[in-house]
């Protein structure tokens, strides 16, 4: 049965397009903003039966209501009987279920206590509990395709209509290792490969740039330090790389200032504040005094390369009526990293400085300009490699006996083939998405020509690649390139499962669950007497396997003209290749196909594939895995823009940059005012807590109040000549408290954080920093310092 409304389909908890029960019409509830967004009755009743009655009505709504302690969280529920309570609660639960952290639904993480931020109400639904299982089912339904009903994939999450497009949250986006290397090259001229050896980051939805997941682990911090020092040393060997002036003396203050301001603006992708200039000049002076100008400059460069202002792209904006407007500098970085994968070029800097990067017209002109630069190639190539999951081509294990010819050189050449194919199909003027799937040509170097058995003519590029029109009707488009076919195969054979899954997950945006426990997941051993199709027949005859494998295998069979390393073939084990395939379980693209070409044409024409492609580029551009619901309408608008632009790639990118998210951010309710504003603290009680830091952890309750603030001191590192401690504070009162802590320091503090202090040794008085000065009832904070002794 086809779904009438994509969103309803996503939520099909046994939902049919006819009202359940046959009698009453399904209530067509409305979104808070009034959007026409039907939720069918069966979904609501299932939610009520599975989640609301046994769990949420008993254990959640007590805090998670508009007046309760959890009123500021994502989940605000209504008690039974309040207006639209069921529909409202269903939507609220769904929004939390769709939001994810590290690929897991917040609805599973939070009440199970698995979320890094904990759950204030304690562990309600530990993994293994029946409640957890019910939440898992709900989250799986709203997040991924259930195998019984594949049309519920997120390929169809677009709301039917959106009246309001909400931008995503304010974020800090740490540079990916690739962005790091390219930025360093543009910034310093040093040919950096440091990023390439940084520890691998989390991959979310196939992309390695997820804003919420990219942090600086201890290992990465050390790698960043080593890299920054090496780069700074090399860059300052020729001072002109980092300094606009030549110093006239070792302590040339004027030149030092120009260097800090000039290099700093390029490193931070915005002008430095006067405080920052002072601090970096302070570092310069401290080093240059003993060691000279170059050494001072080197320290400044090293520090800037380790600064969060370099390592994170800020998309924070400035407060503007409850929302935030991104600065021209921030927009310049968005444009440059999206389109070129590196820091803004000179023209973007000029535009940012002039403050002109605020109107859609100016931004669109920059998009068109940047798409013609070499950087755009890098960025789109990288997108395609991650989207089609072929980044691991170089290492995907292969059986050297079965595929003797698949040498490292062939793998490398295939990577080059894919890059050139992307350039030719996506960056060509007027390029449309279907070109990527149907173009009957490719690019081979001599290695690959021999491997594929192709005879290119035409002119070779600098690396020896020549364009070749593909003669076989089956070799069409990106999916049949060696990189894709070889990566999505088994070590010793092709794999309809892997290829079918690629299409399902990356082209149709439907996530498939892993095999259920307790069933035999044995793959067939290559059997020279039988075709692969026969060997996979077990999936079709075995019920637990069938429900998912029918979604994968029949699509994968359509690619059987390509062996496990991407070579075209017409025979396998003495029999002619049978590449009949079928797409099932899609909203509008179901049907049988006779061969690879037919399968590809079916996919290339599929509206779901088009929407999914827009979704994938949206993910890559914005990297917002955790905010699915908040930006659902923004996505829908981008998808609509892509369709309106007749599937033009440039049209899609322009649509992405025209989205409100590109220039604005939603207020998150937790941001601290940047103008020095402090939360009102009427009724606050000053509490002085004296702590003996003599050793180990000490808990003391405040002396000046009946309730008070409790502190705990933890020494988390200590070495011969110093130590670091942190003091954790919890407000155990029922009122807001502005706190002061007197802490005995057996040494001299050389830096501290999350606090302001008076004194640096002995009894040091700490007060809160702007953002943690006032603790609400039950709130926790922490200050810390490192001291030498």
């Amino acid at each position: 049965m086809r779904r009438l409304f994509a969103l309803a389909a996503l939520l099909a908890l046994g939902c049919s397009s006819e009202p359940a029960g046959g009698g009453d019409a399904a209530p067509l509830a409305t979104l808070p903003d009034g959007a026409d967004d039907p939720v069918c009755d069966a979904d609501l009743q299932s939610f009520r039966r599975e989640l609301w009655s046994p769990l949420m009505s008993l254990r959640c709504v007590g805090c998670h209501n508009a007046a309760g302690p959890a009123r500021a969280t994502r989940l605000v529920l209504r008690a039974e009987g309040q207006p639209d309570w069921l529909d409202h609660n269903f939507r609220a639960a769904r929004a939390v279920a769709i939001a994810r952290l590290a690929d897991t639904s917040l609805l599973l993480l939070r009440p199970a206590g698995l979320h890094p931020m904990g759950h204030t109400g304690g562990t309600i639904t530990p993994p293994g509990s029946t409640d957890y299982a019910a939440l898992s089912r709900f989250a799986a339904r709203v997040q991924t395709a259930a195998c019984d009903d594949p049309t519920t994939g997120d390929g169809g999450t677009s709301p039917k209509s959106c009246t309001t497009v909400t931008p995503g949250p304010r974020v800090l986006r740490r540079l990916t290792p690739t962005e790091y290397d390219r930025t360093v090259r543009d910034l310093t001229g040093v040919d950096s490969h440091h990023g390439a050896s940084f520890v691998a980051d989390p991959v979310v939805d196939g992309f390695d740039n997820d804003a919420a997941s990219l942090v600086v682990s201890p290992l990465l911090a050390e790698q960043l330090r080593v890299a920054a020092e090496a780069i700074a040393t090399e860059a300052t060997r020729e001072l002109a790389r980092v300094s606009p002036c030549t110093p006239t003396s070792p302590m040339d203050a004027a030149c030092a200032r120009r260097m800090v301001e000039g290099f700093g603006e390029r490193a931070f992708r915005r002008p430095l504040t006067s405080d920052e200039v002072t601090r970096y000049l302070g570092l310069f002076t401290a080093i240059a005094t003993g060691e000279g100008f170059n050494e001072g400059a080197e320290a400044v460069v090293s520090a800037m390369l380790q600064s969060p202002h370099f390592l994170y792209r800020a998309e924070l904006g400035v407060s503007a009526g409850g929302a935030y407007r991104l600065s021209a500098w921030e927009v310049a970085s968005e444009l440059s990293y999206l389109l070129t994968g590196t820091m803004p070029d000179a023209e973007l800097f000029t535009a940012a400085r002039a403050g002109t990067l605020t109107t859609p017209t100016v931004i669109e002109a920059q998009v068109r300009r940047l798409l013609t630069t070499p950087g755009a190639r890098e960025s789109l190539r990288r997108f395609v490699r991650q989207w089609l999951d072929v980044d691991r081509l170089a290492t995907v294990p292969k059986d050297a006996t079965t595929f003797m010819a698949f040498t490292p050189a062939v793998r490398a050449s295939m990577a080059g083939e894919l890059d050139r194919f992307v350039d030719a199909t996506l960056l060509r003027a007027g390029a449309r998405l279907p070109d990527l799937f149907t173009t009957a040509a490719t690019f081979v170097d001599p290695t690959l020509a021999g491997f594929y058995g192709l005879s290119p003519d035409g002119v070779a590029d600098a690396q020896g690649y020549r364009r070749v029109s593909t003669v076989e009707a089956q070799r069409r488009g990106v999916l049949t390139l060696g990189a894709v076919m070889a990566t999505h195969a088994r070590p010793n054979s092709s794999s309809p499962v892997h290829r079918g899954r690629l299409v399902r997950e990356r082209l149709l945006c439907q996530t498939l669950p892993p095999p259920p426990p307790g069933i035999n997941a044995q793959p067939p051993t290559p059997d020279p007497r039988r075709s692969l199709r026969e060997q996979y027949a077990m999936h079709a005859s075995n019920e637990p396997c069938l429900s998912c494998h029918r979604l994968m295998d029949p699509i994968g069979f359509g690619f059987e003209f390509f062996d496990g390393v991407g070579r075209f073939r017409t025979m396998e084990n003495g029999a002619a290749i049978d590449a009949h395939g079928e797409v099932v379980g899609s909203a509008s693209s179901d049907g049988a196909t006779t061969d690879t070409q037919a399968m590809i044409e079916r996919l290339a024409a599929s509206p779901e594939v088009h929407d999914c492609f827009a979704r994938q580029l949206f993910r890559y551009a914005y990297a917002l895995s955790a905010t699915g619901e908040q930006t659902a309408c923004a996505l829908a608008e981008v998808q609509q823009g892509f369709r309106t632009a007749d599937l033009s790639i440039e049209g899609l990118i322009v649509a992405l940059t025209r989205s409100p998210h590109f220039t604005e951010r939603a207020g998150d309710g937790t941001a601290v005012a940047t103008d020095g504003g402090v939360v009102a603290d009427a009724g606050a009680v000053d509490v002085v807590v004296t702590v003996d830091a003599g050793g180990g952890a000490v808990t003391t309750t405040g002396v000046a109040t009946t309730t008070g603030v409790a502190t705990t001191t933890v020494r988390d590192s200590t070495w011969e000549t110093g130590f670091c401690e942190r003091v954790q504070l919890v407000n155990n009162t029922s009122a807001a408290v502005t706190w002061t802590v007197v802490h005995r320091v057996a040494g001299r503090i050389n830096n501290h954080w999350n606090s302001e202090r008076t004194g640096d040794t002995g009894d040091v008085v700490f007060r809160g920093a702007m953002w943690n000065r006032t603790l609400m009832a039950g709130e926790v904070t922490e200050l810390g310092f490192c001291a030498s002794r």
Binding site: A112, P127, G128, R392, P516, A671, V672
Partner: protein, 434 residues
């Protein structure tokens, strides 16, 4: 002084509770801490994709036991006297590759568990590792081709927060030994400059913190914590000595499937050197990851390890290849144990390094064909400073692995009553430690 922290108190309240959580590990040491009793260091060794019990189990008759010819653990025969083989330890409530990988070292703990969702290595490192240059050292062998995710990571510094392993021997070498022979007189200058740079970066981080919301503040908190670790490690490596010598590391492509054995050997050598030089007390080596597709080409195999792990008994050749691959991992573990038995204890007290260490071979699943986490195979090695009587085959029945994790903590001198999900069981494994 010893103080109990009201953990639950910290879990309630603001978002910053999450930051606090990891530091609530028991810094308390049991009475034998620092005495001759107890292990001085913990080494974790992971290999993926479960096992086939029929080919793994030792044979036992009374107190005598042995590894059957041709079995997975036969290569461990030479170091059998140093081992305790554990049978019958379950990951209760966990199943499948990903579930097993997530539960293996965390005991399914979360932010409200006493262990705060940390993995046991990180939990122990917070208690015993703070006086070391590296509070813990995570080494990997081709763990990262799929990026970081629940399948490819096993160590956690908090719920959902991975501690990624270093897959590149050259990078590990640099971190451990790079400044081992510095220019005389330059050490202090360089260290002081690095300290100044760090201080400045910290100031920038704090500036930024004041401008962001709760989620991003948490990100910057993690960054600050990482800088503190860097700061501690700036103290620099120990000077070379009789018990501390850097190994030779060659520049192999550490990502190439065929280099899996030499890269793994390099990492084990670096691990041993880090222990010998006192750089850390908690080290792990993670071989690949669950669902690892590696082809053991060096054994003449052509099928991926994960695929082999699922071969049914009807496919005798496939099962034989899986057993062969598992035997290879056993050889690596045997090598590591034998090396530690050869190396002198770098600290006081004499004996071998192994005598004062606890080494654990962990897996993430039980029967790979069933995708379950029942009777997950564990092998312990080392004297644990007198706490572990070895040369034993301990046959347990449906023992929650949280209790094994408690035992590891206790062997390291801690006294936490539970680890991970406390509802699964309290106290150490019966009969394991003395």
């Amino acid at each position: 002084m010893e103080t109990r922290i009201g953990r639950r108190t910290f879990m309630y309240g603001s978002a910053l509770a999450a930051v606090a959580a990891p530091f609530l590990a028991p810094f308390r040491r049991a009475s034998h801490a620092g005495s001759a009793m107890g292990a001085r260091r913990l080494v974790l060794f992971f290999s993926p994709n479960g096992t086939i019990h029929r080919h793994w189990r030792p044979t036992a008759s009374g107190s005598t036991w042995s590894f059957p010819a041709g079995s997975v653990m036969e290569p461990l025969a030479a170091v059998k006297r140093h081992l305790v083989v554990l049978d019958g330890v379950d990951f209760v409530g966990a199943s499948n590759h990903e579930g097993g990988m997530a539960a293996m070292l965390t005991g399914s703990g979360d932010a409200t568990s006493p262990s705060g969702g940390l993995s046991v290595d990180q939990y122990i490192a917070r208690a015993v590792g703070t006086s070391s240059r590296l509070s813990s050292l995570e080494l990997g062998v081709q763990t990262s081709a799929w990026g970081g995710n629940t399948q490819t990571r096993m160590s956690y510094s908090g719920p959902g927060r991975f501690v990624p392993p270093d897959d590149e021997p050259a990078s590990v070498y640099r971190r451990l030994f790079a400044s081992m022979a510095p220019v005389p007189g330059m050490v202090d200058v360089i260290r002081s400059r690095r300290q100044s740079v760090l201080d400045l970066v910290r100031g920038d981080l704090r500036d930024l913190q004041s401008r962001v919301g709760a989620d991003e503040r948490r990100k910057l908190d993690a960054h600050l914590e990482s800088l503190r670790r860097v700061e501690v490690s700036l103290a620099g490596p120990a000077a070379p000595s009789a018990t501390c010598a850097p190994p030779v590391v060659t520049g192999l492509d550490h990502r190439a499937n065929g280099n899996f054995p030499p890269v793994g050997r390099s990492q084990m050598q670096l691990l041993l050197a880090a222990l010998s030089c006192g750089a850390t007390k908690v080290a792990s080596i993670q071989w690949a990851h669950t669902v690892a597709p590696h082809v053991f080409t060096w054994l003449g195999q052509g099928e991926g390890h994960h695929a082999l792990s699922h071969m049914g008994d009807g496919n005798a050749a496939g099962v034989a290849q899986f057993v062969q691959a598992e035997r290879w991992f056993a050889e690596q573990f045997a090598w590591l144990v034998a090396q530690m038995a050869e190396l002198p204890e770098p600290g006081a007290g004499g004996g071998s390094m192994l005598d004062h260490s606890l080494v654990v071979w962990a897996k993430e699943m039980g029967d790979s064909r069933l995708h379950d986490c029942l009777s997950v195979p564990f092998v312990l090695a080392g004297g644990a400073g007198g706490r572990l009587a070895t040369d034993r085959y301990l046959q347990l029945s449906h023992m929650p692995h949280q209790r094994l994790l408690v035992s590891l903590c206790h062997a390291m001198g801690m006294d936490n009553p539970t680890f991970g999900d406390p509802s699964r069981g309290a106290g150490p494994l019966p009969g394991l430690l003395s």
